[in-house]
Homo-oligomer: 425 residues x 2
């Protein structure tokens, strides 16, 4: 009897993980490769950055998730290239791995639109390390302001700029306003954290571009109620140690956070197939790579259009659905059937804005305010993997809501760096 066909899945995010689970009990060998040992629940990453949750609350070892799936194994390794012709992936070091079927789901990274030098001054939010770095900078800015005697420098330290008003930027701004106005309020003696200035900058004409205009307007009103200054319609033209430039205007700030854009994983370029402008793979309707029916791309790296010809949103449900679909197409191929086109079922969009405010768009129904916020909680708890994490996160949120405290206000990392201004990593 020949060995069962080998499915290699690159990436243990939503796309890769749900693909692996969809292959449970199939007569296949499944290998999931990720350069981190944990699956990360990215929709709540901003709460780790804003000291509301601990890394362990939203991350779970991929091995543990798949421990009972006998046909799956997990490798902690970095995939450096894919050879579609030879059907092999090369790992960092000397190893390479042959596959019969491939699912590529490596995700995306931050993009600075040709200004990669901005990254040192304006970290983005993709990994737990990013979140802890943003948390460190945010908490340190308040600590340094408490010790600062120069009024202008204190002003700069208490000015926070968030570039990009998509869901991540809006969530960061709302959580930061909540921390400054409610959580830190009686902790300091020399400064009043409520005086912190929080600016949210958006190149486009309105906040939350993927949402309908009416919900953008309500999100804007919620942000303003929290004291966030929103500036739309102008592009950031410079980022440095002293703040950002917005056209001719200089905004002086010691803490700039980047939520403005993503770029495809460099893995895409090793494929030798056509990519779109953002570096994503132009996949077939069944999510396969053109000319390679055995190789699929899912999640943020796949450029596929839904039936209205809009690109798929970079959200967890789209990645999960695509991952499961690719897995089903592999099962079909393995049993000699032809593959089926992918159809994204948009169940709606949610974004939260600080405490007890959110917007939800279900197409036929648009809601905002406290009910949208409760819905947001239910949906996120439901999708958070593992009973334990759900219980802990609920407890943390209840505690935060009723006490206005935060459980994870720790500055960690290199002790020496702790006293330096944030000048890159």
């Amino acid at each position: 009897m020949p060995a069962a066909p080998h499915v290699v899945i690159v990436g243990g995010g939503f796309g890769g993980l749900y693909a692996a689970k969809a292959l449970d009990r199939a007569p296949l060998r499944v290998t999931v490769i990720d350069r981190r040992n944990h699956h990360l629940f990215q929709p709540l990453l901003y709460q780790v950055a804003m000291a509301g949750l601990s890394p362990g609350d939203i991350a779970y070892p991929i091995r543990s998730i798949l421990r009972r799936q006998a046909n799956a194994r997990v490798l902690l390794a970095e995939v450096e290239a894919v050879d579609l012709g030879a059907r092999r992936v090369s790992l960092a070091g000397e190893d390479s791995l042959a596959y019969d079927y491939l699912i590529l789901a490596p995700g995306v990274r931050h993009a600075y639109f040709g200004h990669e030098e901005w990254e040192a001054f304006a970290p983005g939010l993709k990994s737990l390390e990013d979140a802890l770095e943003i948390r460190r900078r945010m908490l340190l800015a308040f600590e340094r302001a408490e010790r600062e005697t120069d009024a202008a420098e204190r002003r700069r330290l208490l000015t926070f700029v968030i570039v990009g008003a998509g869901p991540t930027g809006v969530e960061l701004a709302g959580a930061l306003a909540d921390i400054a106005r409610n959580v830190l309020v009686s902790d300091f003696r020399a400064i009043d954290p409520r005086e912190a200035r929080i600016l949210l900058l958006e190149h486009g004409p309105r906040v939350l571009p993927p949402f309908p205009e009416s919900l953008s307007a309500r999100a804007l009103a919620s942000l303003r109620r929290l004291g966030v200054e929103v500036r739309c319609g102008r592009a950031v033209t410079g980022v440095g140690t002293d703040g950002v430039r917005l056209g001719d205007e200089r905004i002086e700030s010691r803490t700039v956070l980047w939520a403005a854009g993503v770029a495809a994983s460099p893995l895409a370029r090793t494929l030798g197939v056509p990519l779109d402008r953002a570096g994503r793979v132009l996949v077939e309707a069944d999510l396969s790579v053109p000319g390679h029916p055995e190789a699929f791309v899912v999640g943020d790296l796949a450029a596929c259009l839904d039936e209205t010809a809009r690109p798929l949103p970079g959200v967890a449900p789209a990645a999960i659905q695509a991952g499961r679909h690719a897995a089903r197409n592999i099962l079909r191929a393995a049993s000699g059937r032809s593959s089926e086109p992918f159809r994204y079922l948009d169940r709606g969009n949610l974004a939260t804005i600080g405490r007890a405010a959110a917007v939800a768009d279900f197409g036929f129904l648009r809601i905002s305010g406290a009910i949208a916020w409760l819905l947001w909680i239910v949906v996120h708890i439901f999708f958070l993997i593992g009973f334990r994490n759900r219980a802990i996160v609920l407890l943390e949120w209840a505690w935060a809501y009723f006490t206005s405290q935060r459980g994870a206000r720790l500055i960690t990392g290199d002790v020496r760096r702790r006293f330096e201004p944030p000048r890159g990593r």
Copy 2:
């Protein structure tokens, strides 16, 4: 009216924090200086290292603990020197701070007994960063073993050496055995984590030297039941990338942890007063520095003898009692009364050994086994600061006990370092 006398407290550990709290409502200005923003509940640090708890569970911002104490402020800063004559402490950077009364409680660091080069290969456990580094090395050793094809190298990766069998070493060994035998057991495909070899090395004649011999013997039996190999009575003579040397014997291992000794904070040397061999300050009976009745040293940096002429143990209750005593002596001095000598009240000693086993020594009563373990839980939860942390830690422990899972099995840190063998920091 002159300004209230200024009390500077260096260190927000048990000694410093409880000293600050004992000065609540006193007509004094209190400044607590720490180079970290959090108080750390050190007795549970080994659980962070062994992936049972998250950093946020056992650490709490010092600011938040003292937020309602109107006479106290908190500075995130590093104290570099103390000028006892001028009554000033110098901070890293250019600042310095004048005091009327001083409480020095900076704690200790690891000591490698003249072999500081061993630190890179055998990290110790004093800070959250240390704990995360130890966790990273421990989890990575299993990950690398899963991918390793060479049997000898796999053996080295699955051999863990802990140097020093005091309470920390015993707790680390017990928790590591529990993880390898119970937690990781079905997560791997190529290796069986139960085959991991865990060695606990002790220079002295028995484990848990501060405990009576009968309890040491019971702890040893518990460790053996967990499969830990214990070697007493020989000193480690070498530590490197390949393992440790124990006299003539080489023990090959890729993961060596250090729990063998501590040295005083270098701050002690800036005082210009007599120190003991370990670099600790030889304080007067009232905990003051000889010749400086306004300056006190508490916690692990103080070399003071109890009435039986044994040095005080480096445990939290001793630091708490000394911190409170120094605070009371300052209150006496501020109201013109003379200071009183410190007397340590030893309420007993506890150490835990893995799952459902512990030893407790109350002098008149010595217990071990499950009852000692329950007692250990009650005591540690009671002293853990903050309602929230107590609730979360209890939940984590209950979950870990009933499911044999661990909530914090995350490898974080620099991505590039993740694939390198642990060669120093």
